[in-house]
Amino acid sequence: MSGAVSGKSPAIEVHAVEKRFGNVGIIRDLNLSVAQGERHAIIGPNGAGKSTTFNLISGHIKPTSGEVRLNGDLISGLQPFEINRRGLSRSFQVTNVFARMSVWENVRCAVLWATGHRYAFWKNVDSLPEVRERTAQILDDIHLTHRRDVPAGLLTYAEQRELEIGITIASGATVVMLDEPTAGMSHAETDRAVSLIRRLTEGKTLVIVEHDMSVVFGLADRISVLVYGHIIASGTPEEIRRDPKVKEAYLGEEAH
């Protein structure tokens, strides 16, 4: 599984990244390596900086110092859309969809760039077969086909979370980052979402922030523990379970 064995550069490599908001150092000397094809979970208490880490990697915010690499290429400093075009796609902890557009349109918009249609104003969007097929496939995958004409803003919470995943994977990105995809879901909804995530990210690199430890330990190949903006441990689920620092700092407490 590891990048070193396959000889390829890691999918994501975060090197000595710092992020300050004003005088407050939110992320301190962050180092993280996610191998190609790995399912990597980031856990840590609320406010540890998990979402901020996602924002730093996806280009939403720029690191104060340090560098981020995607498949070996330096991406820190690039715009989010440039990073996305290089094959990294992320979801948001707080649902972030196109509220007035239908479910179908939401997913289709996320398919357009990857299918090469870009800013085209000379093509009828309804007569692009590969766009239509891919959109239909993703709607099917996220079980929202029956809701395709509903404005995204009117979906139930769980449906919006599924749409959020759908938009994220629609471009076919090879590196997928999901920020608390199951937050606020019921137990049954979580189970469904996890099997969905497992299936849709088959063969891709996955970075996931998740609070449900049974999900984390069941899904992840490797886990990183983030506390106060610093990764205190990174390893296989077994290593993390046994790590005394982790026990002390995180797992010992009530899991969030």
Binding site: N96, R100, W104, C109, F121, D149, L154, S171
Partner: protein, 428 residues
Amino acid sequence: MTAATTSSVTAKPAGENLRFYGIWLIGIAALIVLPQVFSSGGSLTSFSLIGIAIVFALSYNILLGQTGLLSFGHAVHYGLGGFAACHMMNAVVSRGWPIPLPFIPLFGGIGGLVFAMIIGWVMTKRAGTVFAMISLGIGELVASSSLILRSVFGGESGITTDRTALPKMLGWSFGPQLQVYYLISFWLVLSAIAMYALTRTPLGRISNAVRDNPERVQFIGYDPHVVRYLAYCFAGFFAGVAGGLTAINFEIANSALLGAIQSGLVLFSTFIGGTAFFFGPILGAILVTYLQLGLTNLTTAWQLYFGIIFIGIVMYAPGGIAGLLMMHRPLIRAGTLWTVIPSYLVAIVPTVALACGVILTIETVARYSGGDPINLFGIPFNPTSPMTWLTAAVLVVGGAFVARLTWRRIAEAWDRAATVARDRGYLA
């Protein structure tokens, strides 16, 4: 809010296709027969102005409704299109180029487009308030420059031209207003089709996404700045076409075309018509142009009425006329519309009484010092007579009191009908 701008028409059923093309064909047929039915010079002039206003409002909605950009300076492109068309017409005449009049609006469009391409990149860097403020500034800048740069804009008097001096096409001289009307209608149809088609392209769909959530767009591969810029250029082009048509219609372009009043009017038309549906600005442009032509003859306070209508729409029907109409679609489909109609009918009388009271009040205030008599739907009133004031007060107070009750009835009937419709699966 959904349908026209957002619905996902993949494989339309045959019936829907038929209806879609049917609506366009009916529109075109109406444009053709309209001057046969209303053939007076006055109505031809009105129709011509309405046609131009529709193109202009549709171009504005590329910004406001499709991309979520609130511009206070859209008339800049309209006016520059008008000037470009005038200069082109004069050049065609003086150089003897073989370009007939029907091609001139294209040059108006290019005029609007070129300016949009130049200023658009900086303007569309941000949306929201920043964009709105810059558009206001650019509008003022261009409007005041137009009075200073006399050689290009002709100063106060503007640039005049003679549309009949251009080469004839198909034997049409375009002297008579009827021929100008058909020329405008031709460009109206062409522009409307093009602007509708634009909404059905990848760029058009992503414009909607930028409108809804410019942040998320960046994470599906798109640069919202580029999307806004391209939308701005298209809007500038079609505004220029409308400006070119105006130049042909009046045979003049002056600084009034690109000023704040024009920018305000197009915002007003588009918003009143409804930005969420493609046809909204068409309704708005028809209504506002018609009101403008009608009201300016009837009352000096016409701008006040515009203001009241605008505030009313913003507060009570932010979806505009189109939004109000389309609200009824699920009820029609579910067959529950008939349950709300009686409450509408009941509400008409007190609402009209209230409106008359407001009109009477405004006209009394407007005409008190002059003493001009008021003619309200054929009934004369004297603005200095206490009887008039009493009538106005009774209409306003009584009308408002009863109207509120009937409006509440409408709301209740609506809730019931909408619930039934939703239960039958007709509401999103």
